[in-house]
Symmetry: C2
Protein backbone atom coordinates (compact mmCIF):
# COMPACT_ATOMS: atom_id res chain seq x y z
CA UNK A 1 0.00 0.00 0.00
CA UNK A 2 1.34 3.44 -0.95
CA UNK A 3 1.56 5.73 2.03
CA UNK A 4 -0.76 8.75 2.01
CA UNK A 5 1.54 11.62 2.91
CA UNK A 6 -0.54 14.06 4.92
CA UNK A 7 0.15 17.61 6.08
CA UNK A 8 -1.80 18.95 9.01
CA UNK A 9 -2.84 22.57 8.49
CA UNK A 10 -3.75 24.41 11.69
CA UNK A 11 -1.96 23.01 14.69
CA UNK A 12 -4.30 23.82 17.55
CA UNK A 13 -5.82 21.71 20.29
CA UNK A 14 -7.68 19.22 18.10
CA UNK A 15 -4.64 18.61 15.87
CA UNK A 16 -2.41 17.92 18.88
CA UNK A 17 -4.99 15.98 20.90
CA UNK A 18 -6.28 13.76 18.10
CA UNK A 19 -4.88 14.08 14.60
CA UNK A 20 -1.18 13.48 15.26
CA UNK A 21 -1.80 10.28 17.21
CA UNK A 22 -4.43 9.00 14.79
CA UNK A 23 -2.21 9.46 11.74
CA UNK A 24 0.62 7.68 13.57
CA UNK A 25 -1.67 4.75 14.38
CA UNK A 26 -3.26 4.23 10.98
CA UNK A 27 -1.48 2.04 8.41
CA UNK A 28 -1.12 3.82 5.09
CA UNK A 29 -1.09 7.31 6.60
CA UNK A 30 2.03 9.34 7.31
CA UNK A 31 2.35 12.79 8.78
CA UNK A 32 4.66 14.61 6.39
CA UNK A 33 4.48 18.28 7.40
CA UNK A 34 2.71 20.87 9.51
CA UNK A 35 1.48 24.29 8.45
CA UNK A 36 0.61 26.59 11.30
CA UNK A 37 1.30 30.20 12.15
CA UNK A 38 2.87 29.38 15.49
CA UNK A 39 3.02 25.74 16.40
CA UNK A 40 5.26 23.01 15.01
CA UNK A 41 6.41 19.46 15.77
CA UNK A 42 10.03 18.43 16.31
CA UNK A 43 11.64 16.69 13.31
CA UNK A 44 8.78 17.60 10.99
CA UNK A 45 8.89 20.16 8.16
CA UNK A 46 7.03 23.25 9.29
CA UNK A 47 5.51 26.13 7.28
CA UNK A 48 3.65 29.22 8.35
CA UNK A 49 0.86 28.94 5.79
CA UNK A 50 -0.69 26.40 3.44
CA UNK A 51 0.55 28.44 0.48
CA UNK A 52 4.12 28.13 1.73
CA UNK A 53 3.59 24.43 2.40
CA UNK A 54 2.30 23.81 -1.11
CA UNK A 55 5.05 25.86 -2.70
CA UNK A 56 8.12 24.87 -0.70
CA UNK A 57 7.14 21.80 1.28
CA UNK A 58 8.06 18.16 0.89
CA UNK A 59 5.93 16.02 -1.44
CA UNK A 60 2.50 15.45 0.07
CA UNK A 61 -0.66 13.78 -1.18
CA UNK A 62 -3.19 15.27 1.18
CA UNK A 63 -3.92 17.98 3.70
CA UNK A 64 -5.95 17.67 6.87
CA UNK A 65 -7.47 21.06 7.65
CA UNK A 66 -7.67 21.57 11.41
CA UNK A 67 -7.99 25.36 11.21
CA UNK A 68 -11.09 27.22 12.41
CA UNK A 69 -14.02 26.92 9.98
CA UNK A 70 -13.85 30.57 8.95
CA UNK A 71 -10.58 30.13 7.02
CA UNK A 72 -10.89 26.57 5.84
CA UNK A 73 -12.61 27.11 2.50
CA UNK A 74 -9.80 29.14 0.98
CA UNK A 75 -7.29 26.57 2.21
CA UNK A 76 -9.33 23.74 0.70
CA UNK A 77 -9.42 25.55 -2.65
CA UNK A 78 -5.66 26.04 -2.57
CA UNK A 79 -5.07 22.38 -1.72
CA UNK A 80 -7.47 21.02 -4.35
CA UNK A 81 -5.95 23.34 -6.97
CA UNK A 82 -2.57 21.86 -6.07
CA UNK A 83 -3.98 18.37 -6.62
CA UNK A 84 -4.12 17.34 -2.97
CA UNK A 85 -6.81 15.30 -1.24
CA UNK A 86 -8.53 17.30 1.49
CA UNK A 87 -9.87 16.26 4.86
CA UNK A 88 -11.97 18.84 6.71
CA UNK A 89 -12.41 18.95 10.47
CA UNK A 90 -16.00 19.57 11.51
CA UNK A 91 -17.88 21.76 10.78
CA UNK A 92 -16.91 21.54 7.10
CA UNK A 93 -17.35 25.27 6.55
CA UNK A 94 -18.46 28.58 7.97
CA UNK A 95 -21.50 28.33 5.71
CA UNK A 96 -23.23 25.56 3.80
CA UNK A 97 -23.16 26.91 0.23
CA UNK A 98 -19.39 27.42 0.24
CA UNK A 99 -19.03 23.64 0.10
CA UNK A 100 -20.72 23.31 -3.29
CA UNK A 101 -17.81 24.57 -5.40
CA UNK A 102 -15.38 22.48 -3.34
CA UNK A 103 -17.44 19.36 -4.01
CA UNK A 104 -17.54 20.21 -7.70
CA UNK A 105 -13.80 20.90 -7.83
CA UNK A 106 -12.96 17.64 -6.06
CA UNK A 107 -15.20 15.74 -8.45
CA UNK A 108 -13.64 17.34 -11.52
CA UNK A 109 -10.07 16.73 -10.37
CA UNK A 110 -10.77 13.25 -8.96
CA UNK A 111 -9.41 14.29 -5.60
CA UNK A 112 -10.97 13.30 -2.29
CA UNK A 113 -12.92 15.84 -0.29
CA UNK A 114 -13.79 14.33 3.07
CA UNK A 115 -15.99 16.30 5.42
CA UNK A 116 -15.43 14.52 8.70
CA UNK A 117 -17.92 14.01 11.53
CA UNK A 118 -15.76 12.33 14.13
CA UNK A 119 -18.63 11.55 16.49
CA UNK A 120 -20.24 9.35 13.86
CA UNK A 121 -17.29 7.01 14.33
CA UNK A 122 -17.86 6.62 18.06
CA UNK A 123 -18.08 2.88 18.72
CA UNK A 124 -21.75 2.64 19.74
CA UNK A 125 -23.15 4.72 16.88
CA UNK A 126 -23.49 1.92 14.34
CA UNK A 127 -24.96 -0.54 16.85
CA UNK A 128 -27.47 2.15 17.81
CA UNK A 129 -28.40 2.80 14.19
CA UNK A 130 -28.94 -0.89 13.55
CA UNK A 131 -30.98 -1.37 16.71
CA UNK A 132 -33.22 1.60 15.92
CA UNK A 133 -33.77 0.49 12.33
CA UNK A 134 -35.83 -2.44 13.65
CA UNK A 135 -37.85 -0.43 16.19
CA UNK A 136 -40.64 2.11 16.18
CA UNK A 137 -39.24 5.35 17.50
CA UNK A 138 -41.52 7.42 19.72
CA UNK A 139 -39.34 10.34 20.77
CA UNK A 140 -35.76 11.51 20.93
CA UNK A 141 -33.99 13.80 23.37
CA UNK A 142 -30.45 15.07 23.03
CA UNK A 143 -28.64 16.36 26.10
CA UNK A 144 -25.26 17.82 25.16
CA UNK A 145 -23.80 19.97 27.89
CA UNK A 146 -20.16 20.69 28.53
CA UNK A 147 -17.93 23.26 30.15
CA UNK A 148 -16.51 25.48 27.42
CA UNK A 149 -13.67 26.56 29.71
CA UNK A 150 -12.47 22.97 30.02
CA UNK A 151 -12.90 21.83 26.43
CA UNK A 152 -12.23 24.99 24.43
CA UNK A 153 -9.67 26.99 26.37
CA UNK A 154 -8.57 30.11 24.52
CA UNK A 155 -10.50 29.25 21.36
CA UNK A 156 -11.61 32.81 20.62
CA UNK A 157 -12.73 31.87 17.09
CA UNK A 158 -15.56 29.81 18.53
CA UNK A 159 -17.32 33.03 19.64
CA UNK A 160 -16.78 34.87 16.38
CA UNK A 161 -19.23 34.87 13.45
CA UNK A 162 -19.04 31.43 11.83
CA UNK A 163 -17.54 29.89 14.98
CA UNK A 164 -20.81 28.20 15.98
CA UNK A 165 -20.46 28.66 19.76
CA UNK A 166 -22.24 25.81 21.54
CA UNK A 167 -23.07 24.28 18.17
CA UNK A 168 -19.39 23.37 17.82
CA UNK A 169 -20.00 20.44 20.19
CA UNK A 170 -23.73 20.42 19.41
CA UNK A 171 -23.07 19.60 15.77
CA UNK A 172 -21.41 16.39 16.98
CA UNK A 173 -24.74 15.38 18.48
CA UNK A 174 -26.52 16.35 15.26
CA UNK A 175 -24.02 14.32 13.24
CA UNK A 176 -24.91 11.24 15.32
CA UNK A 177 -28.63 12.01 15.24
CA UNK A 178 -28.69 12.29 11.45
CA UNK A 179 -26.84 8.99 11.24
CA UNK A 180 -28.88 6.84 13.63
CA UNK A 181 -32.42 7.99 12.78
CA UNK A 182 -34.08 6.24 9.85
CA UNK A 183 -35.61 9.42 8.37
CA UNK A 184 -34.22 12.92 7.83
CA UNK A 185 -35.05 15.43 10.54
CA UNK A 186 -35.37 19.18 10.25
CA UNK A 187 -35.54 22.08 12.69
CA UNK A 188 -38.99 23.29 13.67
CA UNK A 189 -38.00 25.86 16.26
CA UNK A 190 -34.92 26.96 18.16
CA UNK A 191 -33.94 29.20 21.05
CA UNK A 192 -30.44 30.61 20.92
CA UNK A 193 -28.82 32.28 23.93
CA UNK A 194 -26.12 34.74 22.85
CA UNK A 195 -23.80 36.21 25.49
CA UNK A 196 -23.95 39.99 25.20
CA UNK A 197 -20.30 40.07 24.14
CA UNK A 198 -20.32 37.14 21.71
CA UNK A 199 -21.33 36.47 18.12
CA UNK A 200 -22.22 32.84 18.74
CA UNK A 201 -24.66 31.20 21.16
CA UNK A 202 -23.57 29.74 24.49
CA UNK A 203 -26.70 27.62 24.78
CA UNK A 204 -29.48 26.43 22.49
CA UNK A 205 -32.71 24.47 22.61
CA UNK A 206 -33.94 22.88 19.43
CA UNK A 207 -37.19 21.26 18.43
CA UNK A 208 -36.83 19.01 15.43
CA UNK A 209 -39.09 16.56 13.68
CA UNK A 210 -39.35 14.34 10.62
CA UNK A 211 -42.04 13.89 8.01
CA UNK A 212 -44.02 11.67 10.39
CA UNK A 213 -43.95 14.23 13.20
CA UNK A 214 -41.42 12.43 15.42
CA UNK A 215 -40.78 14.64 18.46
CA UNK A 216 -37.08 15.41 18.78
CA UNK A 217 -35.68 17.87 21.28
CA UNK A 218 -32.10 18.92 21.85
CA UNK A 219 -30.46 20.94 24.58
CA UNK A 220 -26.96 22.28 24.11
CA UNK A 221 -25.19 24.18 26.85
CA UNK A 222 -21.62 25.40 27.14
CA UNK A 223 -22.02 26.45 30.80
CA UNK A 224 -22.13 22.98 32.30
CA UNK A 225 -19.88 22.58 35.29
CA UNK A 226 -19.67 19.33 37.23
CA UNK A 227 -20.87 16.23 35.34
CA UNK A 228 -20.73 16.63 31.57
CA UNK A 229 -23.45 15.25 29.29
CA UNK A 230 -23.16 13.95 25.75
CA UNK A 231 -26.25 11.80 25.66
CA UNK A 232 -28.98 10.86 23.21
CA UNK A 233 -32.10 9.17 24.60
CA UNK A 234 -34.47 7.39 22.26
CA UNK A 235 -37.83 6.03 23.39
CA UNK A 236 -39.04 3.14 21.25
CA UNK A 237 -41.80 0.56 21.25
CA UNK A 238 -39.21 -1.87 22.61
CA UNK A 239 -37.61 0.16 25.33
CA UNK A 240 -35.39 3.15 25.87
CA UNK A 241 -32.07 3.32 24.10
CA UNK A 242 -29.41 5.52 25.60
CA UNK A 243 -26.35 6.55 23.66
CA UNK A 244 -24.02 8.19 26.15
CA UNK A 245 -20.49 9.59 26.45
CA UNK A 246 -20.73 11.02 22.93
CA UNK A 247 -21.67 7.75 21.29
CA UNK A 248 -19.28 5.48 23.16
CA UNK A 249 -21.81 3.56 25.25
CA UNK A 250 -25.16 2.17 24.16
CA UNK A 251 -27.66 0.93 26.71
CA UNK A 252 -31.15 -0.54 26.46
CA UNK A 253 -33.35 0.20 29.46
CA UNK A 254 -30.25 1.02 31.46
CA UNK A 255 -28.30 -2.12 30.53
CA UNK A 256 -25.10 -1.55 28.57
CA UNK A 257 -25.11 -3.49 25.32
CA UNK A 258 -22.21 -1.87 23.46
CA UNK A 259 -19.10 -0.15 24.72
CA UNK A 260 -15.67 0.19 23.22
CA UNK A 261 -12.66 2.44 23.45
CA UNK A 262 -12.68 5.64 21.42
CA UNK A 263 -11.08 5.26 18.00
CA UNK A 264 -12.98 8.07 16.30
CA UNK A 265 -10.03 9.82 14.71
CA UNK A 266 -8.33 6.60 13.71
CA UNK A 267 -11.53 5.63 11.93
CA UNK A 268 -11.54 9.00 10.19
CA UNK A 269 -8.01 8.49 8.88
CA UNK A 270 -8.70 4.88 7.90
CA UNK A 271 -11.64 6.15 5.89
CA UNK A 272 -9.59 9.02 4.43
CA UNK A 273 -6.86 6.63 3.28
CA UNK A 274 -9.51 4.40 1.65
CA UNK A 275 -11.24 7.34 -0.05
CA UNK A 276 -7.98 8.80 -1.33
CA UNK A 277 -7.06 5.48 -2.93
CA UNK A 278 -9.77 6.09 -5.52
CA UNK A 279 -10.23 9.87 -5.22
CA UNK A 280 -13.81 9.44 -4.00
CA UNK A 281 -15.40 12.13 -1.83
CA UNK A 282 -17.56 11.90 1.28
CA UNK A 283 -19.41 15.10 2.12
CA UNK A 284 -22.63 15.02 4.11
CA UNK A 285 -23.85 18.52 4.90
CA UNK A 286 -26.95 17.48 6.87
CA UNK A 287 -25.59 18.40 10.33
CA UNK A 288 -24.40 21.85 9.19
CA UNK A 289 -27.68 22.48 7.39
CA UNK A 290 -29.54 21.85 10.64
CA UNK A 291 -27.34 24.37 12.44
CA UNK A 292 -27.87 26.95 9.68
CA UNK A 293 -31.62 26.42 9.95
CA UNK A 294 -31.44 26.84 13.73
CA UNK A 295 -29.72 30.20 13.24
CA UNK A 296 -32.15 31.14 10.47
CA UNK A 297 -35.38 30.44 12.32
CA UNK A 298 -34.22 30.54 15.94
CA UNK A 299 -35.40 32.97 18.60
CA UNK A 300 -32.43 34.89 20.00
CA UNK A 301 -32.07 35.92 23.60
CA UNK A 302 -29.18 37.90 25.03
CA UNK A 303 -27.60 36.47 28.17
CA UNK A 304 -24.79 37.59 30.43
CA UNK A 305 -21.40 38.25 28.85
CA UNK A 306 -19.02 35.32 28.65
CA UNK A 307 -15.72 35.69 30.43
CA UNK A 308 -13.28 32.98 29.35
CA UNK B 1 -56.91 22.07 -21.67
CA UNK B 2 -58.28 20.91 -18.33
CA UNK B 3 -58.55 23.77 -15.89
CA UNK B 4 -56.26 23.62 -12.86
CA UNK B 5 -58.61 24.34 -9.97
CA UNK B 6 -56.59 26.24 -7.40
CA UNK B 7 -57.33 27.20 -3.81
CA UNK B 8 -55.43 30.09 -2.29
CA UNK B 9 -54.43 29.41 1.31
CA UNK B 10 -53.60 32.52 3.32
CA UNK B 11 -55.41 35.56 2.05
CA UNK B 12 -53.13 38.41 3.06
CA UNK B 13 -51.62 41.27 1.12
CA UNK B 14 -49.70 39.23 -1.47
CA UNK B 15 -52.70 37.01 -2.23
CA UNK B 16 -54.96 40.01 -2.79
CA UNK B 17 -52.38 42.16 -4.58
CA UNK B 18 -51.04 39.51 -6.93
CA UNK B 19 -52.38 35.98 -6.82
CA UNK B 20 -56.09 36.60 -7.45
CA UNK B 21 -55.45 38.74 -10.52
CA UNK B 22 -52.77 36.42 -11.89
CA UNK B 23 -54.95 33.32 -11.62
CA UNK B 24 -57.79 35.20 -13.34
CA UNK B 25 -55.46 36.20 -16.19
CA UNK B 26 -53.82 32.85 -16.86
CA UNK B 27 -55.53 30.37 -19.20
CA UNK B 28 -55.88 26.97 -17.61
CA UNK B 29 -55.98 28.29 -14.03
CA UNK B 30 -59.15 28.83 -12.03
CA UNK B 31 -59.52 30.14 -8.50
CA UNK B 32 -61.83 27.62 -6.84
CA UNK B 33 -61.68 28.44 -3.12
CA UNK B 34 -59.97 30.43 -0.40
CA UNK B 35 -58.78 29.21 2.97
CA UNK B 36 -57.99 31.96 5.43
CA UNK B 37 -58.73 32.62 9.07
CA UNK B 38 -60.36 35.96 8.42
CA UNK B 39 -60.46 37.08 4.82
CA UNK B 40 -62.65 35.79 1.99
CA UNK B 41 -63.77 36.72 -1.53
CA UNK B 42 -67.40 37.24 -2.57
CA UNK B 43 -68.94 34.32 -4.48
CA UNK B 44 -66.03 31.99 -3.68
CA UNK B 45 -66.13 29.04 -1.26
CA UNK B 46 -64.32 30.03 1.93
CA UNK B 47 -62.81 27.89 4.68
CA UNK B 48 -61.01 28.82 7.86
CA UNK B 49 -58.17 26.32 7.48
CA UNK B 50 -56.57 24.14 4.85
CA UNK B 51 -57.79 21.05 6.72
CA UNK B 52 -61.38 22.25 6.42
CA UNK B 53 -60.80 23.13 2.77
CA UNK B 54 -59.45 19.67 1.97
CA UNK B 55 -62.22 17.94 3.92
CA UNK B 56 -65.32 19.94 2.99
CA UNK B 57 -64.33 22.10 0.06
CA UNK B 58 -65.17 21.88 -3.62
CA UNK B 59 -63.00 19.68 -5.86
CA UNK B 60 -59.58 21.27 -6.31
CA UNK B 61 -56.37 20.17 -8.00
CA UNK B 62 -53.89 22.48 -6.35
CA UNK B 63 -53.24 24.87 -3.51
CA UNK B 64 -51.24 28.08 -3.62
CA UNK B 65 -49.77 28.70 -0.18
CA UNK B 66 -49.64 32.44 0.55
CA UNK B 67 -49.38 32.04 4.30
CA UNK B 68 -46.30 33.19 6.28
CA UNK B 69 -43.34 30.82 5.89
CA UNK B 70 -43.55 29.61 9.48
CA UNK B 71 -46.79 27.65 8.90
CA UNK B 72 -46.42 26.67 5.28
CA UNK B 73 -44.65 23.33 5.67
CA UNK B 74 -47.46 21.66 7.59
CA UNK B 75 -49.95 22.98 5.04
CA UNK B 76 -47.86 21.66 2.18
CA UNK B 77 -47.74 18.21 3.80
CA UNK B 78 -51.52 18.21 4.24
CA UNK B 79 -52.06 19.24 0.62
CA UNK B 80 -49.60 16.72 -0.83
CA UNK B 81 -51.11 13.95 1.33
CA UNK B 82 -54.50 14.88 -0.15
CA UNK B 83 -53.03 14.54 -3.64
CA UNK B 84 -52.92 18.24 -4.48
CA UNK B 85 -50.25 20.11 -6.39
CA UNK B 86 -48.58 22.76 -4.24
CA UNK B 87 -47.27 26.20 -5.09
CA UNK B 88 -45.24 27.93 -2.38
CA UNK B 89 -44.83 31.69 -2.07
CA UNK B 90 -41.29 32.76 -1.34
CA UNK B 91 -39.42 31.94 0.82
CA UNK B 92 -40.33 28.26 0.39
CA UNK B 93 -39.93 27.52 4.09
CA UNK B 94 -38.90 28.79 7.49
CA UNK B 95 -35.83 26.59 7.16
CA UNK B 96 -34.01 24.85 4.33
CA UNK B 97 -34.06 21.21 5.51
CA UNK B 98 -37.83 21.15 5.95
CA UNK B 99 -38.14 21.20 2.16
CA UNK B 100 -36.41 17.84 1.70
CA UNK B 101 -39.31 15.63 2.82
CA UNK B 102 -41.72 17.77 0.79
CA UNK B 103 -39.62 17.29 -2.34
CA UNK B 104 -39.49 13.55 -1.67
CA UNK B 105 -43.23 13.34 -1.05
CA UNK B 106 -44.05 15.28 -4.22
CA UNK B 107 -41.76 13.00 -6.21
CA UNK B 108 -43.30 9.84 -4.78
CA UNK B 109 -46.86 10.97 -5.40
CA UNK B 110 -46.17 12.57 -8.79
CA UNK B 111 -47.55 15.85 -7.59
CA UNK B 112 -46.05 19.23 -8.40
CA UNK B 113 -44.15 21.12 -5.72
CA UNK B 114 -43.32 24.57 -7.05
CA UNK B 115 -41.16 26.85 -4.92
CA UNK B 116 -41.75 30.21 -6.55
CA UNK B 117 -39.31 33.09 -6.89
CA UNK B 118 -41.48 35.74 -8.44
CA UNK B 119 -38.62 38.19 -9.07
CA UNK B 120 -36.95 35.69 -11.39
CA UNK B 121 -39.88 36.26 -13.74
CA UNK B 122 -39.36 40.01 -13.92
CA UNK B 123 -39.10 40.86 -17.62
CA UNK B 124 -35.45 41.94 -17.75
CA UNK B 125 -34.02 38.99 -15.81
CA UNK B 126 -33.62 36.60 -18.73
CA UNK B 127 -32.14 39.27 -21.04
CA UNK B 128 -29.69 40.11 -18.26
CA UNK B 129 -28.73 36.47 -17.80
CA UNK B 130 -28.12 36.04 -21.50
CA UNK B 131 -26.12 39.26 -21.79
CA UNK B 132 -23.91 38.32 -18.83
CA UNK B 133 -23.29 34.82 -20.13
CA UNK B 134 -21.21 36.32 -22.94
CA UNK B 135 -19.23 38.77 -20.77
CA UNK B 136 -16.49 38.66 -18.21
CA UNK B 137 -17.95 39.81 -14.91
CA UNK B 138 -15.72 41.96 -12.71
CA UNK B 139 -17.96 42.82 -9.77
CA UNK B 140 -21.56 42.86 -8.64
CA UNK B 141 -23.39 45.15 -6.26
CA UNK B 142 -26.94 44.71 -5.04
CA UNK B 143 -28.82 47.68 -3.63
CA UNK B 144 -32.18 46.60 -2.26
CA UNK B 145 -33.71 49.21 0.01
CA UNK B 146 -37.37 49.77 0.71
CA UNK B 147 -39.65 51.22 3.35
CA UNK B 148 -41.06 48.35 5.38
CA UNK B 149 -43.94 50.56 6.56
CA UNK B 150 -45.08 51.04 2.97
CA UNK B 151 -44.60 47.53 1.64
CA UNK B 152 -45.29 45.34 4.68
CA UNK B 153 -47.91 47.15 6.74
CA UNK B 154 -49.01 45.14 9.76
CA UNK B 155 -47.02 42.03 8.76
CA UNK B 156 -45.95 41.13 12.30
CA UNK B 157 -44.79 37.66 11.19
CA UNK B 158 -41.95 39.25 9.23
CA UNK B 159 -40.24 40.21 12.52
CA UNK B 160 -40.76 36.85 14.18
CA UNK B 161 -38.27 33.95 14.05
CA UNK B 162 -38.42 32.51 10.54
CA UNK B 163 -39.92 35.72 9.14
CA UNK B 164 -36.63 36.84 7.56
CA UNK B 165 -37.05 40.59 8.20
CA UNK B 166 -35.25 42.54 5.48
CA UNK B 167 -34.36 39.26 3.80
CA UNK B 168 -38.01 38.91 2.82
CA UNK B 169 -37.41 41.44 0.01
CA UNK B 170 -33.68 40.71 -0.01
CA UNK B 171 -34.27 37.11 -1.01
CA UNK B 172 -35.90 38.45 -4.18
CA UNK B 173 -32.57 40.05 -5.07
CA UNK B 174 -30.78 36.82 -4.23
CA UNK B 175 -33.22 34.88 -6.40
CA UNK B 176 -32.32 37.12 -9.36
CA UNK B 177 -28.61 37.05 -8.54
CA UNK B 178 -28.49 33.25 -8.44
CA UNK B 179 -30.31 33.18 -11.78
CA UNK B 180 -28.27 35.71 -13.78
CA UNK B 181 -24.74 34.86 -12.63
CA UNK B 182 -23.01 32.05 -14.51
CA UNK B 183 -21.50 30.42 -11.39
CA UNK B 184 -22.92 29.68 -7.94
CA UNK B 185 -22.17 32.26 -5.28
CA UNK B 186 -21.88 31.79 -1.55
CA UNK B 187 -21.79 34.08 1.48
CA UNK B 188 -18.37 35.05 2.78
CA UNK B 189 -19.42 37.49 5.47
CA UNK B 190 -22.54 39.28 6.64
CA UNK B 191 -23.59 42.03 9.00
CA UNK B 192 -27.11 41.79 10.36
CA UNK B 193 -28.79 44.70 12.17
CA UNK B 194 -31.50 43.45 14.52
CA UNK B 195 -33.89 45.98 16.08
CA UNK B 196 -33.78 45.49 19.85
CA UNK B 197 -37.43 44.38 19.83
CA UNK B 198 -37.33 42.12 16.76
CA UNK B 199 -36.26 38.57 15.93
CA UNK B 200 -35.32 39.38 12.34
CA UNK B 201 -32.90 41.91 10.88
CA UNK B 202 -34.02 45.30 9.58
CA UNK B 203 -30.85 45.74 7.52
CA UNK B 204 -28.03 43.55 6.25
CA UNK B 205 -24.78 43.81 4.35
CA UNK B 206 -23.48 40.72 2.60
CA UNK B 207 -20.21 39.87 0.98
CA UNK B 208 -20.49 36.98 -1.43
CA UNK B 209 -18.18 35.40 -3.93
CA UNK B 210 -17.86 32.47 -6.31
CA UNK B 211 -15.12 29.92 -6.85
CA UNK B 212 -13.15 32.43 -8.92
CA UNK B 213 -13.28 35.10 -6.22
CA UNK B 214 -15.82 37.38 -7.94
CA UNK B 215 -16.52 40.30 -5.58
CA UNK B 216 -20.24 40.53 -4.85
CA UNK B 217 -21.71 42.89 -2.27
CA UNK B 218 -25.31 43.36 -1.25
CA UNK B 219 -27.02 45.96 0.90
CA UNK B 220 -30.52 45.34 2.14
CA UNK B 221 -32.35 47.97 4.17
CA UNK B 222 -35.95 48.14 5.35
CA UNK B 223 -35.60 51.74 6.62
CA UNK B 224 -35.47 53.43 3.22
CA UNK B 225 -37.75 56.42 2.96
CA UNK B 226 -37.95 58.52 -0.20
CA UNK B 227 -36.70 56.82 -3.38
CA UNK B 228 -36.76 53.03 -3.17
CA UNK B 229 -34.01 50.85 -4.64
CA UNK B 230 -34.26 47.38 -6.11
CA UNK B 231 -31.13 47.44 -8.23
CA UNK B 232 -28.35 45.07 -9.25
CA UNK B 233 -25.24 46.60 -10.84
CA UNK B 234 -22.81 44.38 -12.70
CA UNK B 235 -19.45 45.62 -13.96
CA UNK B 236 -18.18 43.65 -16.93
CA UNK B 237 -15.39 43.83 -19.48
CA UNK B 238 -17.97 45.28 -21.87
CA UNK B 239 -19.64 47.87 -19.72
CA UNK B 240 -21.89 48.22 -16.73
CA UNK B 241 -25.18 46.41 -16.71
CA UNK B 242 -27.91 47.75 -14.46
CA UNK B 243 -30.95 45.72 -13.57
CA UNK B 244 -33.35 48.10 -11.84
CA UNK B 245 -36.89 48.27 -10.47
CA UNK B 246 -36.63 44.70 -9.23
CA UNK B 247 -35.62 43.24 -12.57
CA UNK B 248 -38.01 45.18 -14.77
CA UNK B 249 -35.47 47.39 -16.54
CA UNK B 250 -32.09 46.43 -17.94
CA UNK B 251 -29.62 49.09 -19.02
CA UNK B 252 -26.09 48.96 -20.44
CA UNK B 253 -23.96 51.95 -19.51
CA UNK B 254 -27.09 53.87 -18.64
CA UNK B 255 -28.99 53.08 -21.83
CA UNK B 256 -32.17 51.03 -21.42
CA UNK B 257 -32.09 47.89 -23.52
CA UNK B 258 -34.97 45.91 -22.04
CA UNK B 259 -38.12 47.04 -20.31
CA UNK B 260 -41.54 45.48 -20.08
CA UNK B 261 -44.60 45.54 -17.87
CA UNK B 262 -44.58 43.34 -14.79
CA UNK B 263 -46.13 39.93 -15.35
CA UNK B 264 -44.25 38.11 -12.61
CA UNK B 265 -47.19 36.37 -10.99
CA UNK B 266 -48.84 35.52 -14.28
CA UNK B 267 -45.58 33.85 -15.29
CA UNK B 268 -45.61 31.92 -12.03
CA UNK B 269 -49.10 30.60 -12.65
CA UNK B 270 -48.35 29.81 -16.31
CA UNK B 271 -45.40 27.78 -15.09
CA UNK B 272 -47.46 26.14 -12.33
CA UNK B 273 -50.13 25.08 -14.83
CA UNK B 274 -47.44 23.61 -17.08
CA UNK B 275 -45.73 21.79 -14.21
CA UNK B 276 -48.99 20.38 -12.86
CA UNK B 277 -49.84 18.95 -16.28
CA UNK B 278 -47.10 16.37 -15.75
CA UNK B 279 -46.71 16.49 -11.97
CA UNK B 280 -43.14 17.77 -12.29
CA UNK B 281 -41.60 19.80 -9.48
CA UNK B 282 -39.48 22.96 -9.52
CA UNK B 283 -37.68 23.65 -6.26
CA UNK B 284 -34.48 25.69 -6.18
CA UNK B 285 -33.32 26.31 -2.64
CA UNK B 286 -30.24 28.38 -3.54
CA UNK B 287 -31.67 31.78 -2.45
CA UNK B 288 -32.87 30.44 0.92
CA UNK B 289 -29.58 28.67 1.50
CA UNK B 290 -27.75 31.96 1.07
CA UNK B 291 -30.01 33.59 3.64
CA UNK B 292 -29.48 30.71 6.07
CA UNK B 293 -25.73 31.06 5.62
CA UNK B 294 -25.96 34.82 6.23
CA UNK B 295 -27.71 34.13 9.53
CA UNK B 296 -25.26 31.35 10.36
CA UNK B 297 -22.05 33.28 9.81
CA UNK B 298 -23.27 36.86 10.08
CA UNK B 299 -22.15 39.41 12.66
CA UNK B 300 -25.15 40.70 14.60
CA UNK B 301 -25.58 44.22 15.82
CA UNK B 302 -28.52 45.50 17.83
CA UNK B 303 -30.12 48.70 16.55
CA UNK B 304 -32.97 50.85 17.76
CA UNK B 305 -36.35 49.19 18.27
CA UNK B 306 -38.70 49.11 15.30
CA UNK B 307 -42.03 50.83 15.72
CA UNK B 308 -44.43 49.85 12.92
Amino acid sequence: MTELRIAIVGFGKIARDQHVGAIAAVPGATLAAVASRNASLPDLPHFATIEELLEKGPPIDAVSLCTPPQVRRAQAVAALRAGKHVMLEKPPGAGVAELDPLIAMAGETKRTLFATWHSRHAPAVEPAREWLAARRIRSVHVNWKEDVRVWHPGQAWIWEPGGLGVFDPGINALSILTRILPKPVFVNAAELAFPANCQAPIAAKLTLTDIDGLPVTAEFDFRQTGPQSWDILVETDQGRMTLSRGGRIMAIDGKTVAEAPDEEYRELYRHFVALAATGASDVDLAPLRLVADAFLLGRRTIVEPFVG
